[in-house]
Amino acid sequence: MVRRSGALLNAILATLVCAVLLYSGTNGVGPLTGVGPLLDPATGFWTAGRDAAPPHDQTLQLTGLHAQTSVTFDAEGVPHIRARDDHDLFLALGYVHARYRLFEMDLIRRQGEGRLAQVLGGKLLPVDEFELDLGLSRTALKDLKRLAPDERAVLQAYADGVNARIHEAKTERNLPAFFKLLGYEPADWQVLDTAVIKGIQAQDLAYQTNPLTNARLVKALGADRASRWFPVVPASNRDTPYDPGPYQTAAAAPLPAAVVSDGADVAAASLLSRTAGLPKLASETGASNNWAVDGTLTASGKPLMANDPHLALNLPSVWFQVDLESPSYHVRGVTFPGAPVVPIGRNKQISWGATDTQNQATLYYAEKTDPAHPDQYFWQEAWHRMDKISYDIPVKGGAVDHHELRLTVHGPILTQQGQALAVDWMGNVPSSGLGSILRMMRAGDWPSFKSALTDWTSPTQNWIYADAAGNIGIYAPGLYPIVNAARPDLPLPGTGEADVVGTVPLAQVPQAYDPPSHMVVSANQRPVGGAYPYYIGTSQNDFDPGYRAAEIRTALQTRKGPLTALDMERLQFDDRDQLAVRVLPRLLGAVGEADLDPLHRQALAEIQRWDAVMRANSAAASIWDAFWREYLRQTFQPWWDRYRVGVPITEVAGPLGADLEGWTVAGAPTDAFAPPGSAPATPDVVMESAFTKAVNSLAQRFGARVQMWDWSRVHQRLIASLIDKSLSYGPRGAGGDERTPDAAAGTVSTHGPSWRMVVDWGSGRSYGVYPAGQAENPVSAWYENLVDDWWAGRYHEMTTAAEAEGRSGSATWTLQP
């Protein structure tokens, strides 16, 4: 009996162990699949090694091709695609994109289409709901109808190429390992997916919450103070517009005072809280530079052009470098995986690039509703029924989420807390933007370049231009909404009187062509001067305060000799902080050396001999940064506390910093140093206090040896993996800050120069590098092979197919129909 009981107990124990093993093998941690499928050596992660080797010379069959097409990969993994017709070019591009970035492409389309929770679980549900509310898919459908037949054919050929790879990988059981990790397979690629990916970029660059933030600032600080502290034209920006005028009509009227209701404030807070959980937008955290100089300033006598768009630095990268050749296209540059266009690049005659214009492209409308009229809103003197759209969102490991959206004439309602707030975002205006870029890729001169962008709507970009003929220019087409309201920078009444009544005419959007300064520079600064006849945003509207633009202009103007491509590369790595250049003399004057203890005297000595360059190994850079943050805090925190401002100072530190610079350096009058309930102070007193406290905090953190306070110990860059932090690069100590051309905002910077490109029209050569690699497969030699070169400033020549073929490490796929 005892023996039988023991046997039973043994069997039960064995059953339990088996159950635990099967359960843990099946159920993964977070979104990842279980350990069993992951470790399966024949179909799990181990198969990532199969696709990791660089390609070798081989012949492949690609269904759908009209004729033989070649893809030559250079040693860095850049494909040079040569096709006999345009259809084959884009078919092959789709295949190559999918071969190296299929998982990334699927993730991005899922984000835009609100389908992340389906594969990543319920924590992504808020992102899906927001994206479905915003409506990138709805807009994408309309975008497709606006494309010309030949442009739509490009998208279809591209989708066919992507699908050829998807089917091939499924047949060979060789889908990227991340699909296996997450336990799903990708659906076929549709042309709609490409349009959605264009929408994601528009959202990243042009969807804004500034009117909501502004409403909170006005509500808390009062209209007068908010207008003074967040002006339309900040003092720091006065010298940097690339289109300084004169303009055809009179300047726009100043913004009058305004009152924000309690309901609008609650709605703004609610929607800001909702968007805080979304991936950080480049329009809020990013920055970009581009510039061009004409032949009078260069060694070759021909233009030089440079562009470094500052976006999220990820592994895999947002970019995929290509060289495309067909009867209509001869383009080198970078593409977004998922889209067959080169938004930054060059052809045989012209080069182009982009920075974000940052104008106000998002309007919020407080809809008038009434419980007596459920699901209706009052507009143009009548009640109207809201449109409703329902979505069923699949959730991995959970129940399907039924999500209902309401729309008014202005757009989707994004919150009903406090007030129904609808958004009218210019990115939702249907356009043929993808067609515009295709036309730009074929342009051969300034008129055809501008003509290609005639239909461009969003995101508004400062498109930089240079050509082989010796011309330079910059042009910022897009939708700059004109509303029939005095304060478009705040949520607007939805009853009809404040609707959009037009947009800035194309002839009057910011632009410059062969200017007398011989240079055009954009770095997200306000592109026009104070006399510009249209309202396009305030200092709180994401315009950069202008320090990067000022530094670039200064560097170009004070050159020691004729400029070369190497000078352009060095300028992209420029870590000089123009704010420090301007404020340091005042700081040194404010801090009395005689009263300092040895530690503070040592710190002062460091910044006395500092050149305002935020080098990674500079202790002075750490002292400056700590001082400036503390100076901002000591100046504004009493106001924030007194008025209970619901927007963190750090979120509006850019415009506040520009104010503080103006008060400190130019002595502009202000009551900012006399907050309510405190004794009035002077900039000198606050600076001295901030300096003391900053040095104390650094000593507490890093010890009393000032020389050990390297900036790299305070400030790092992180190139984050989209999948798993073990696959990220960094954090690694780095130079730069948010005000340097080599932009690196934050203490752990996750945004920055996502692609650095220089085009030299003297030699006809161009150079570029980005901080990742061409392959998303972490086992591949091309996963992060370019990071170190990017870090060290080693650019790679953007070669043609013929040039690549002759170089070591190249391999060619011959694609047969």
């Binding site: 023996r3 039988r4 046997a7 039973l8 043994n10 069997a11 124990l13 064995a14 059953t15 162990v17 088996c18 093993l21 099967l22 093998g25 099946t26 990842l32 350990v35 069993g36 499928p37 992951l38 470790l39 399966d40 050596p41 024949a42 179909t43 799990g44 992660f45 181990w46 990532a48 090694g49 199969r50 990791a52 080797a53 990790l181 798993d724 073990s726 696959l727 972490p778 086992v779």
Partner: protein, 124 residues
């Protein structure tokens, strides 16, 4: 059920088990080592069959890794996989974990088979 058998029979069963588990892994049936081990020790009594269960499972899981290594693809995969699993990125760690996991499946299945056998046919 079969009683205690010769080493030859146990070895033959082990080879068959390796083949079955290997085939299962090719189509993603990663858990096959567990029922295979269960059947082996249920049908064949004795400690050698239990050892065969986990050894055969380990061998079946190791075989694809050996082939991958011969193709030069396994080293970097192992490093990356170790990191994803939350372990230090050491070259051989993930490979070891993979084989151990396979062996555990075989061992647990074998243990359950032997235990069930004892319940059904208690030793006299």
């Amino acid at each position: 059920m079969i009683g205690r058998q010769s080493a030859g029979l146990v070895a033959a069963a082990g080879v068959l088990m390796v083949a079955v588990i290997w085939a299962g892994l090719q189509i993603g049936v990663w858990w096959l080592a567990l029922p295979a081990g269960f059947l082996l020790t249920l049908l064949v009594a004795g400690a050698p069959s239990l050892h065969t269960a986990w050894l055969a499972a380990a061998a079946a899981w190791a075989l694809p890794l050996v082939l991958l290594t011969a193709g030069g693809d396994a080293g970097r995969s192992s490093v990356v996989l170790s990191g994803i699993l939350g372990f230090p990125s050491l070259p051989l760690l993930a490979a070891l974990l993979t084989v151990v996991f396979g062996a555990l499946l075989g061992l647990a299945g074998g243990w359950l088979g032997a235990a069930v056998r004892r319940v059904l046919r208690p030793a006299r």
